[in-house]
Symmetry: C2
Subunit: 427 residues, 2 copies
């Protein structure tokens, strides 16, 4: 953890170093990934079978390619009631929030007599990657699957590796709640390739979403354009802007809720109260000691944590925009005054009673958010990621006469006579 | 040009071959491009200077890095009045159409007492690539720049190669009309790298849009995630669905307006009238002979053109969805009846008096559209490509008490105790 003071002379370069620190692994997996993609494209099922045997020690033919909907529902039925209710409440709230994202169609005839509009449609099929191992979160299944279903996707295919045959029942239960249509026991770049290209067994999809390791991320990047993808995801991060009136234990817990994800996670506190900042630092250390995920949190906090003292809270906002954080907490009595001046953040948590974790699970907005300063240009996952817009134009003879001559002039100036001709013959 | 009959026994494989034909060059430029990106990232201006000298034979230091706003306005003032008026009419109509795309913010308190919403902001800076050579179209400048300005982008930087120092005055005039803020005389992958990473001379941007050759497209793909990009673009294409009541000369002109772009362009006619199809084929040949762009159109029509006979026009619609064309003309008396059944198309041109070229220039909707079957999952360029959404959540003590326990249960089930703790301490 580093301590910075925005009033000190050497702040600017130190803050720039923090902003530009690359926490994303520079693993050069691109050659490996392109070889895997090529194999799956050319050999289909056989390649998927081989890679799954090799990387996941799972024999697809003997152990099964799919997990049935019945198995997913059985997993749901076996959940303890409290957990099932929690998942169902989360799903319901996520569904309600995302339903409002469905865009409106347009259809309007303008003063020139030209009818113009746009119509939205869902993609036909979407693929959802769910990691195996410790990042296999049922909440991620809900957050990725429900917007697809709300969009109206006909077919939602989930892929998840089952290393050594091991299946995570929580993930299956979430798939049942989210009405996932297919669950395939495959992972890695080979699973992304199977979804994008299709194989004899697995039909291709149009959009692939969901988190994954460096191979999965690189496969999505390489297949971007063959299919739509959600985004390039990096390590998680939180920025907390807090005044001295907060309970240091609350703010420390919030910083640790990011730090416990992964050693590459980042937690930053911006405060105008030096004593409060120190109290939070003490609390972080105290809570880490009691935390089951303490080793991870300790590694992340030591390597990437920061406490930054600002002369006043408003002075924190330009720093927030530089960081363009995935998660931003504004823990003050009047958070809206600060929020009005924030331009770049994935999701904002307003006030003292809105810990970021409430957004991870239950509030309703998506927890798939732009990381690594990508909130400068990217948004969280939404229904729009599973839809596309078709614009349309209708001219009458009269309205074509109004705008046609200008279009003919432009086509001729661009050296495209057939463009000009297609309008001129109708005038 | 191939002729297919949807009623014939061998139609399915022949149509599949048409759908899956790859018209995009498989040039393996990825290694060259990554070397260029690395150079620009590490050496900044010096690398940009060297590549521009080498590829464009333009000495940036001696001949100038930038084209001033004054030079752009001078180019506009020198335009012949008819052309200037045409460009200004196009700009005005594009602006009006795109203004309606600005998304609404959300801010709502739900039954549980949780305030939820989303706020849209423009990106700070956008970069616009404009090719040199024959694809340097002023209409593309308008179509790419105006949505950025409508979105509220603070700074719009255009890059365009000026091979041998040569500048296209039409492009400058369009830049003046579209209120482009900076024009840089650079091109290729090095220009995309300069925009994404920034150099001492050129400040970085957040989003890069605009068409380009294989190097430019690969550079955008590799930098996707460092910046936002519009899309991966391929050769242009049109599908025309027309009954026998159309004038064959009109439909032939429409098919040729795509074919003249590039030898990789594709024009497909779907008709229920075999005699009409043959009349169009004859007209295409006749018009090509008179066309200044006839060689290109001939190459494209011969290699990629198709006339497909369907038993009835409704039978064309599943074929349209398979092709997911960039441009779709529905040249019938009641095009809405057909349009209602189309799911995948970039832009649709309704009725006999709406040639596709009217959309290229003047109608208002964007002409930057998904190609190569990407209309299955992608949309045309819009104001949204230059904006991003920040979601927000505000809990009160009472509303956190409603949903908090469920979130705690989920966090514990996922093995994330600090997440649980950050909520539990507030309950």
């Amino acid at each position: 953890m580093i301590r910075l003071d925005a009033s000190s002379a050497d702040f600017a370069p130190a803050f720039s170093a923090l902003v530009n620190a690359r926490r994303e692994a520079d693993e050069d997996v691109s050659r490996d990934v392109s070889a895997i993609l090529r194999s799956v494209r050319e050999q289909g099922d056989a390649a998927v079978r081989d890679y799954t045997q090799r990387f996941d020690r799972h024999d697809l033919d003997a152990g099964g390619w799919r997990i049935s909907r019945e198995d997913c529902h059985a997993a749901l039925d076996r959940l303890e009631p409290e957990l099932r209710k929690a998942l169902e409440l989360a799903a319901e709230r996520i569904r309600t929030y995302h339903a409002e994202q469905r865009p409106a169609d347009r259809d309007h005839t303008d003063a020139a007599g030209i009818r113009l509009g746009a119509r939205w449609n869902a993609v036909e099929a979407a693929g959802l990657y769910v990691p195996g191992g410790r990042a296999a979160y049922p909440s991620s299944v809900l957050m990725n699957a429900i917007p697809a279903k709300v969009a109206g996707v006909d077919r939602l295919a989930m892929v998840t590796p089952t290393p050594g045959g091991l299946i995570n029942p929580l993930v299956l239960a979430a798939a049942a709640i989210a009405e996932v249509d297919e669950v395939w026991r495959i992972g890695g770049a080979q699973a992304i390739a199977a979804l994008a290209y299709g194989t004899d067994t697995i039909a291709p999809v149009d959009v692939v979403v969901g988190p994954g390791n460096a191979w999965v991320a690189e496969a999505k990047r390489q297949l971007y354009g063959v299919v739509g993808i959600d985004m390039v995801a990096g390590p998680s991060e939180i920025v907390v802007v807090a005044d001295g009136a907060n309970d240091p234990a609350w703010i420390a817990a919030d910083l640790l809720s990011q730090a416990e994800h992964d050693p590459t996670s980042q937690s930053i506190l911006l405060t105008d109260d030096a004593a409060f900042g120190e109290a939070v630092a003490v609390e972080v250390d105290a809570q880490i000691a009691r935390l089951q995920t303490g080793d991870t949190a300790r590694a992340a906090w030591d390597a990437n944590g920061a406490i930054i003292l600002v002369p006043m809270l408003e002075a924190a906002l330009p720093l927030v925009d530089r960081l363009a954080p995935e998660h931003l907490e504004l823990a003050t009595a009047d958070p809206d005054a600060l929020f009005a001046k924030v331009r770049h953040a994935g999701s904002v948590f307003l006030g003292r009673h809105t810990p970021e974790a409430v957004g991870d699970y239950i509030a309703g907005p998506n927890h798939v958010l732009p990381t690594g300063r990508r909130a400068r240009f990217a948004s969280g996952l939404s229904v729009l990621d599973f839809m596309k817009r078709t614009s349309f134009i209708a001219c009458s003879p009269a309205s074509l006469a109004v705008v046609g001559p200008a279009a003919v002039a432009l086509a001729e100036a661009e050296g495209l006579p057939a463009h000009a001709q297609s309008i001129a013959v109708r005038l």
